[in-house]
Symmetry: C2
Subunit: 426 residues, 2 copies
């Protein structure tokens, strides 16, 4: 249950032949009636942005922040493909628009796969059949989420919001592969005052995502589509999405590489009526945060997920920079792989992060246990630190002692698995 | 032959007990008469600078850009060691100063090893015996270079300058372990007009270095000491060293980590008389360039050395930034490991490097063969590219088509070896 959790959205997943062997390679998410609704997008900052990113930006602009459908394909990034690539992305939108009955500029497009390979436009004729299969309900949401998987090993879905009250799974529940496919609860006995059975239930935000940069490099893209049935105007929706992405997907680093295709979309169909913007922003951030964590946990080759928290920085921005420097350090990431509590690497990265830093004010904790205080080693329970480092989730907290700035970044370890996944594209 | 190639310098290497098992762990380079000579240093930009870096900076400042000796130790970084660490570094300088007969502020200190472990000051009593053994000639230079090796597998030494004419090895010759230990030729039949046998020979620049960030993480530091017998004032010497480092050590990236202890020193004893500053700068850059290449080639775990050249950037600084972004990309480095000519990763890194970039103007060459032209894949001889990628040295050239800026960065591949070297410190 993900993009179809919010009422009024339908979805489908299928195989059109971009990937060999009949593997799923296309997903469609659309409004049930094909009408455009407020939509917002956050796209890669990479100046080598792929054709679908360019086309989606253009369509959002031309449609005034509205969309009726999103089409997602995997197996070909349609990046570094020149004018032909732009044509292909536009054709894909047109085919889907014809199927759902909207204008082509009201369809957004996401693609992921190998860079520099012309998109096989001969598959376009197979897309209408997938569009035809679109429907509501959790199974359709699962099918769409499954179709955008590349080397992901589990579906990545999340839901949040008062509309969920009484549903199994609760807020920001993670739907593992098949584990929540028992139908869509109708919101009985909601605790938020909203009832889902009739009248106006509370609103819901649902989302699906694929990938993380630690997946095979030809699939290094992260794509996410969120839907909500809260009523919200495009400008507010854009602000909500930007905020949600900033504290979640933008605070996740696997290898520091910014893909040519990264895209996060949020469509809002107001069937559940207005939502408190702060509450909606919170739910969107909750969904994005859950999806980001699922990406980190499922990053191929990774054996650990680590949260690098920095506080006491001069500013929040400096805290983020310091946390990201530690999180992207090859030496820190390899030490996570080896469960090695060598805090010297962390201090060294903090000192070279380009932020205000004074060794004598710096402290570092592993799993809550202080290993460095005042810039020097601190006596500590080494066995307890070793026990923490041996776990699947590692927490490293750094106090710079310079101010009130704080931030946290999620990262993974670096081991043989990453090398094996990424040394060749074939 | 390295730090003793220039006349008037003596050196020694020995074991004082910092490392276990009687392994070499201290080196001394000094003027033969113990008198201070013009000296310059380039130190890590890491704000968590180790005690020896702080003390060397302080000594250079107090001595007005002069030094009589350099002491280098391996096995303990003396970083994150607080006030006791500063005391230990100062004591080390004092012990060496007493041995060579100079003031303690005229001794510079370099240390490398584990961060956060108090320096074992009980070894200081063993240092004078090593200082006593200092002498001129290639064997002493080799001993010093050997004593600073950590997980280096070969000595890293280089020499350049007109004083070398007629010597075996030629300019910037690399002295592999033991392969040039047949005594120091006296410069017979010099081709530069300078004769080394009597009178005023041409000047020489010699240097030794250890490490690269890809070595074991507890030894992640790069240290280099250069000497010359050219006569040059401290200010010019500083400018010459800064220039040499900028185009060599600062254009080498193995894992993007900036150590707490990185130090490059250059001492100039004017026995060979004045040198043309441009020629001296060229020779210093030649020595640093050779040492940097030796570091890349010997980086543990690395199976490839790659040169990432960017031209057509808006400025040289943007070219450097773009080259460094490509050179530090985990995806590019793993592709080097797998000899995979997937240029999509290179273009993606260029697009996210934060420099002026237009896809349609971008071209990429592997080993001189164009694989991407005008932002799209170009027909090319795939077998020839594969052959190039299979070699030990890989050349990737990127043309941004935006201006005249150019730069090149040396890097290594990322494979299992790096992980295995770095996942634990024990």
């Amino acid at each position: 249950m993900s993009v179809t959790a919010a009422r009024g959205f339908v979805a489908a997943g299928g195989a059109v032949g971009i990937k060999a062997g009949g593997r799923l390679d296309v997903a469609v998410v659309a409004t049930a009636d094909g009408r455009p609704v407020p939509a917002a997008g956050v796209f890669t900052s990479n100046l080598a942005a792929a054709a679908p990113v360019q086309v989606s930006r253009e369509h959002l602009r031309r449609a005034g922040g509205a969309a009726s459908a999103v089409v997602l394909t995997s197996g070909n990034a349609n990046a570094a493909t020149g004018a032909r690539g732009l044509d292909a992305a536009r054709q894909l939108c047109s085919v889907v628009a014809a199927g759902v009955g909207s204008g082509p500029h009201q369809v957004l497009v996401c693609q992921t796969g190998l860079i520099g390979v012309p998109f096989p436009t001969e598959v376009l004729g197979n897309v209408p059949a997938v569009v035809e299969r679109r429907q509501g309900g959790p199974d359709a949401g699962d099918a769409a989420a499954r179709a955008i998987m590349t080397t992901d090993t589990v579906l990545k879905q999340a839901v949040a919001g008062p509309g969920l009250a009484g549903r199994s799974g609760g807020a920001a529940g993670q739907s593992g592969s098949g584990q929540s496919g028992s139908g869509r609860p109708a919101g009985s006995a909601g605790t938020s005052g909203a009832s889902g059975t009739a009248g106006t239930p509370g609103w819901t935000v649902g989302g699906m995502a694929k990938g993380a940069a630690m997946l095979a490099p030809d699939m290094a893209t992260m794509l996410a589509v969120l839907t909500t049935d809260a009523a919200v105007d495009p400008a507010t929706l854009e602000a909500i999405l930007a905020h949600a992405v900033g504290s979640t997907f933008n605070a996740l680093t696997v290898d520091g590489c910014t893909s040519t295709n990264d895209t996060v979309l949020l469509l809002a169909r107001g069937l559940a009526g207005p939502a408190d913007p702060a509450a909606l922003a919170g739910a969107a951030a909750e969904v994005c945060g859950s999806l980001a964590r699922q990406m980190a946990d499922d990053a191929e080759g990774a054996t650990k997920t680590a949260r690098i928290a920095v506080h006491g920085a001069a500013t929040d921005a400096q805290a983020h920079r310091a946390a990201r420097t530690v999180a992207e350090s090859l030496l820190v990431k390899t030490s996570l792989n080896g469960a090695d509590p060598y805090w010297g690497r962390v201090v060294s990265e903090l000192g070279s992060a380009g932020v205000a830093f004074t060794m004598a004010r710096t402290s570092v904790r592993y799993g809550g246990i202080a290993v460095c205080v005042g810039g020097e080693g601190a006596a500590h329970d080494a066995a307890a630190v070793a026990h923490h480092m041996a776990g699947r989730f590692v927490e490293i907290e750094c106090d710079l002692g310079m101010g009130g700035g704080r931030a946290a970044v999620l990262t993974t370890d670096l081991g043989h698995g990453y090398i094996d996944e990424n040394r060749t594209t074939s």
